[in-house]
Symmetry: C2
DNA sequence: TTGTACGCGTTATCAA
DNA sequence: TTGATAACGCGTACAA
C-alpha cells in the first residue's frame, strides 16, 4: 500500500483542491485570485465559494518559485531604533499593509559592507522592489541595486544620480537654513555639534559651513563632532567640549534633536540662559522639541511621508507606470521656537 | 527549435549546475551546504570550489517549497516607532544577522485583530519561529499560535500560561516598585499618568494601585489616563489635567519616560519645583532620563536583552533542545535620581 | 475565457 | 556516504 500525497504539507488545501471542488482547472483558480477581471463572473463566484469553504491560502513560496518573483519589498535602513528611520519604516509598512506585499527589513548598522551583504541576501529572493536609505552606496552595492531587476528607491536624501528613483530632501540646505536662522537671530559664535557623522550629518555640516563662511563667521574651533552614536547624554558631553574649545560660543546648530535636547539640559544644569546666552537649533523636529522648556527651534522633516512616497513610486513602477518624476524632493521646514527667540 | 531552460531566472546557476561541475548528484550538493558533516571531506571540497566558481546561491523560495519550512522568524510588535519595541526588534535582528534566518516583521498597531490578520499572513510562509509581543492575544490569535507548528516566544511580559515560551518582566511589579519608591520618598498625593493604556500599561496601573492601597493612599482622582498614543506633548497635557483634578498632587508615576519628560517640562514652565513640590518617576529608563535636569527616576527594563533572549530560546527549540525554563523573567531595576530625591 | 503540459530549484524518500 | 526519483504548489506558454 502506498499513501499518495501525504508526505508533508500538513494537509493544507492546495490550488488543485480548490479547482476540483469548483469544477474548474487549477490555472483558472490561480487567475481568479490574481487577475479576477480575466475570469468570468460565474466561475469567479464558484471559485470564491470553494476557497472559503476549504480555507485555501496560496503558498507564497510556491508562488515565488513559479513566477520567479516574490511579493516582497526589501528595505534597508542604517538603524532600527533611530526614530528618523523608524518613521520611514512605519510609513512603508502602513502603505503596504493592505496589499499582497510583505516587507523584508534589513539593518545595515550604518555600514556599507553590511549593506552589500544584505543586498546579496535579498537578491536571491527576487524582491518586487528595493528601498534603501541614502545615496552613498559602495560601488558593489550600487551595482547590486542596478542589476536587481526591480524598481529601486533611495530615500532620505536628494542627489543628482539616482540608481532608479529617489525621494528625500537636501540635508545641505537644511543645515544651511538652520545656521542662517541663527545668524539672522543675531548669534555670531555659532557652533556645530554632531554625532555619528554619517553622510547625511556630513552634508548638514557642509550646509552649516557654507552659511558661516558666507557670513564671514566660520571658525574651525566652533565645530565639534564624533563618530559615536547620537544620544541626549552625548549631546551634553559634546556641548561641554564645545564650550571648552570656544568659551565665547553663543549658539549651536545640532546635528539632530537628541543632541539639541542634551545641550538644553546642560544649559539648565550650568545655568546658561536659553535663548539669551545660547541659541539652540535641532534637526528633524521630533515631538518633544515643541514641548521642551524653552521649546526648541528645529528643522522639520517628513520621514513618514518619505516612507509612503517611496512605496507609491515603487508600486507605480511595478504596475508599469514609471512616475514622471524619478526624483522627489519633499523639502523641510524651519520651525522657529523659543530657543532662538532673543 | 526549442530552447530548453531559458525561460526565466536570468541564468542564475542552480544546484544542478553545481552538481554537474563538481561531478556529483544534486542532492549531495544540497547536503554539503546544509549538513557538511554528512558529506565526505573530498566531495565537500570539490563542491565548495564549484559553488565559488559559479557564484551559486541557493534559492530560498525553492528551498522553502521543497522543505515546507522557510528560514524566517515572524515577529509581531504593536509599534515600530515606540523605542521600547524598536529595542526588542533590534535585539532580534542582531541575534539573527549571522545565521541563515531572515526576519519577517509585522506591525499590529496595538490591535488584536491586526495581530490575527498578520498571523494568518505569516502562517502560509511556514516560519521557523514566531515572536510576538505581549500575552493578551485574542482567542483566535492564540489558536493560530498554538497550531503554528513552530516555536513561539511571547515577549515583554511574564505570565502564568505561555503559548510556548515567554521572556519578559512583571509590569505590575514594576508599577508597584515605582510607586512604593515615591511613597518611601515621602510623597503622599501620588498620581498615575498614563497614555495608550495597552495591557502592559494597565498592569503598571494595577501595580500603582496596589501600592497606593497598601499605604492607604489610593484616590481615584489621582489617576489620569487616555487611550491616545503616548508622547512628550501629551505628557504635558495630561499633567495639567491631573493637577486640575487633584491640585494637591505632590508626585506622579508616569506610564513611560515620554510622559515623564512632558511632566518635567510642564513643571519647568509652570515653575513647579522638582523634586521639592512634585516627584516624578518614569518607566523604561531611556537614555534621556539620566541627562534630564533634574535627572528623572525611572524603572530600567531590558528590552534589547529580551529580544536577544527570545531568539536564543527559539533557536534552542528549533535545534530540538527545549530550554529547561520556558518562562524567563529578566526583571527590572529602579534607578533613583534627582526627580525623587527630596 | 479556459485548459493542458510542463517547469521553477530544491529537498524527502528510499535504495544502493 | 551517495544518488535516482518523485514530489513541493504554483505560474507560464501555448493551444483551444
Amino acid at each position: 500500500m502506498i499513501k499518495p500525497r501525504s508526505r508533508r504539507g500538513g494537509g493544507r488545501p492546495t490550488i488543485a483542491d480548490v479547482a476540483r471542488k469548483a469544477g474548474v482547472g487549477a490555472i483558472t483558480v490561480s487567475r481568479a485570485l490574481r487577475e479576477p477581471e480575466r475570469v468570468s463572473e460565474d466561475l469567479r463566484r464558484q471559485i470564491q465559494v470553494a476557497v472559503d469553504e476549504l480555507g485555501y491560502v496560496p503558498d507564497p513560496n510556491a508562488r515565488a518559485l513559479a513566477s520567479a518573483r516574490a511579493d516582497v519589498f526589501g528595505v534597508l535602513v542604517p538603524s532600527l531604533t533611530n526614530n528618523v528611520f523608524a518613521e520611514v519604516v512605519r510609513g512603508i509598512y502602513d502603505s503596504l499593509s493592505d496589499g499582497p506585499f510583505r516587507v523584508q527589513l534589513g539593518n545595515t548598522h550604518y555600514s556599507g559592507l553590511e549593506e552589500e551583504r544584505l543586498l546579496q541576501v535579498f537578491g536571491p529572493q527576487r524582491p518586487a522592489a528595493l528601498i534603501v536609505a541614502g545615496i552613498n552606496q559602495t560601488p558593489t552595492a550600487r551595482k547590486l541595486l542596478e542589476t536587481a531587476g526591480c524598481p529601486v528607491v533611495q530615500v532620505m536624501e536628494t542627489g543628482p544620480d539616482p540608481v532608479d528613483m529617489l525621494v528625500g530632501f537636501s540635508h545641505l540646505d537644511g543645515g544651511r537654513t538652520a545656521t542662517e536662522h541663527l545668524i539672522e537671530a543675531g548669534y555670531r559664535r555659532i557652533g556645530f555639534i554632531g554625532a555619528r557623522m554619517d553622510p547625511r550629518s556630513q552634508r548638514r555640516l557642509a550646509g552649516y559651513r557654507a552659511a558661516m563662511e558666507a557670513a564671514g563667521l566660520f571658525d574651525a574651533r566652533l565645530v565639534t563632532t564624533t563618530p559615536v552614536p547620537s544620544s541626549v547624554t552625548l549631546g551634553r558631553e559634546l556641548f561641554r567640549d564645545a564650550l571648552a574649545k570656544a568659551p565665547t560660543l553663543d549658539g549651536v546648530f545640532c546635528n539632530n534633536d537628541d543632541i539639541a535636547l542634551g545641550v538644553l539640559f546642560e544649559c539648565h544644569r550650568a545655568a546658561i540662559a536659553v535663548p539669551r546666552t545660547i541659541g539652540i537649533v535641532g534637526f528633524n523636529d521630533l515631538d518633544m522639541m515643541q514641548s521642551a522648556f524653552p521649546s526648541i527651534t528645529s528643522i522639520r522633516t517628513y520621514r513618514y511621508e518619505i516612507g509612503r512616497r517611496s512605496v507609491a513610486m515603487a508600486l507605480a513602477a511595478i504596475a508599469g507606470k514609471r512616475p514622471e518624476q524619478r526624483v522627489v524632493d519633499l523639502g523641510f521646514e524651519l520651525i522657529r521656537r523659543e530657543s532662538t527667540a532673543r
